[in-house]
Amino acid sequence: MVHGIVPPYLLARIAELDDERFARAARAARRALQYDEPRRAARLNFSLDASDSLVIELADGPNRTIFDARRSETLPGVIVRKENAEPTGDPAADEAYDGLGATFALYSEVYDRNSIDGVGLPLDATVHYGVDYDNAFWDGDRMVFGDGDGEIFGRFTASLSVIGHELAHGVTQYTAALEYEGQSGALNESVSDVFGALVEQYSLEQNVEKASWLIGAGLFTDAVEGEALRSLKAPGTAYNDDVLGTDPQPAHMRDYVETDDDNGGVHINSGIPNHAFYLVAAALGGNAWERAGLVWYDTVLSPLAPRSTFAQFAEATVRAAATRYGEASTEVDAVRAGWAGVGVEAAGANLDGGRTA
């Protein structure tokens, strides 16, 4: 099978084809063009069916634009690579482009979601933001990546899980809209870590056992004692360094950190729901993006309160698993056990047995 990514102008041309061999593709292209704004892109899949006839299918495709802030803090910067363009040779720009593509692929191919907003939102990213800027963030419209200071951090595009994490903030913004403060903020962070990890696992074709479950592997320079920023498998173990200290993430509710910093410790307490997801995925086995990922994806799309607590989110995951797989299913049992394993009691859910007070 050949994959081609079709820019809007080609889509328009396919839409105008007056040849019955391509009637289906033309109809699909016309539909895509009417359906959306002109910046929409699509993907064509070519294959041969059993009778050797050419089958052309139109699928969603990403529409990426990479900008370069040229070490300023002014957004968006200048365009350095558009959809379908050749690599620039600048690792940051090309990693961002490829990372956006890998993230789009997970949502499109596994969750049938067309981009961040579900209707083909163009994916924009800015690289080389600021001088020695030790961060990456989602500003509501685009992903922004710093180059790092070179002493502790290298460039933030170097880890696919970071790119997946930032785009997931966009998905959350368009869906659950979890408030970025306290427990709901830690859930917002955790959803980004979960789907950031899943983007990487899906891209590398790693199952639950093979996956690293690390967020931000490869961001630290060699001077730092640590392999990554966070671990879903073992929160609190990602780094242990003379200068940076020890990874402060808890893996259990009894270690929840109350703080005014970091919007109420959103990057710290996310360790608790992160580990719950890992436990669910590990119990189910196989590919984490399939059953565990589907339950979490359904949860983010369910009617969650913006200020949801861990317990309310846990309840929503149990409901999502029951809706998809049935009340008496391995999946529901795994989800319940996962939350019990981090000391979170799903609010309003009937947690049967196996849980200690």
């Binding site: 030790d134 961060n135 989602w138 500003d139 930032e166 403060e181 966070r230 940076l244 990057h267």
Partner: protein, 99 residues
């Protein structure tokens, strides 16, 4: 009679949040860098007009405190507001606090 000498300061800058969630802190006493006009830098910042932060995912949060002999000031601001006089103050603290 009022003290005519310029106020002396102990200033701390704490950065939290960010994708990494790492806490960084810089502290300086005005006597550590006597060539810097600390009173002017501190006075230039709009301490009383700081809006509550509206969190942007993964952006830094800055907590800035300037304890003078006569007055204590404190502000929390999101990364996107760290511009102008705030940026000048923070940059001076970071460079003076370097070992």
């Amino acid at each position: 009679m009022a003290d005519a000498r310029p106020d002396t300061f102990s200033i701390s800058v704490v950065r939290t949040g960010g994708f990494a969630g790492l806490r960084r802190e810089w502290r300086v006493r005005s006597s550590d860098a006597p060539d810097v006009d600390w009173p002017a830098l501190v006075e230039a910042c709009p301490w009383d007009t700081v809006a509550p932060p509206s969190p942007v995912p993964d952006r830094f949060v800055w907590r800035i405190e300037a304890d003078g002999a006569r007055r204590r000031r404190r502000a929390t601001l999101p990364d996107e507001r760290l511009t102008g006089s705030w940026r000048e103050l923070v940059d001076q603290v970071k460079s003076a606090a370097k070992p």
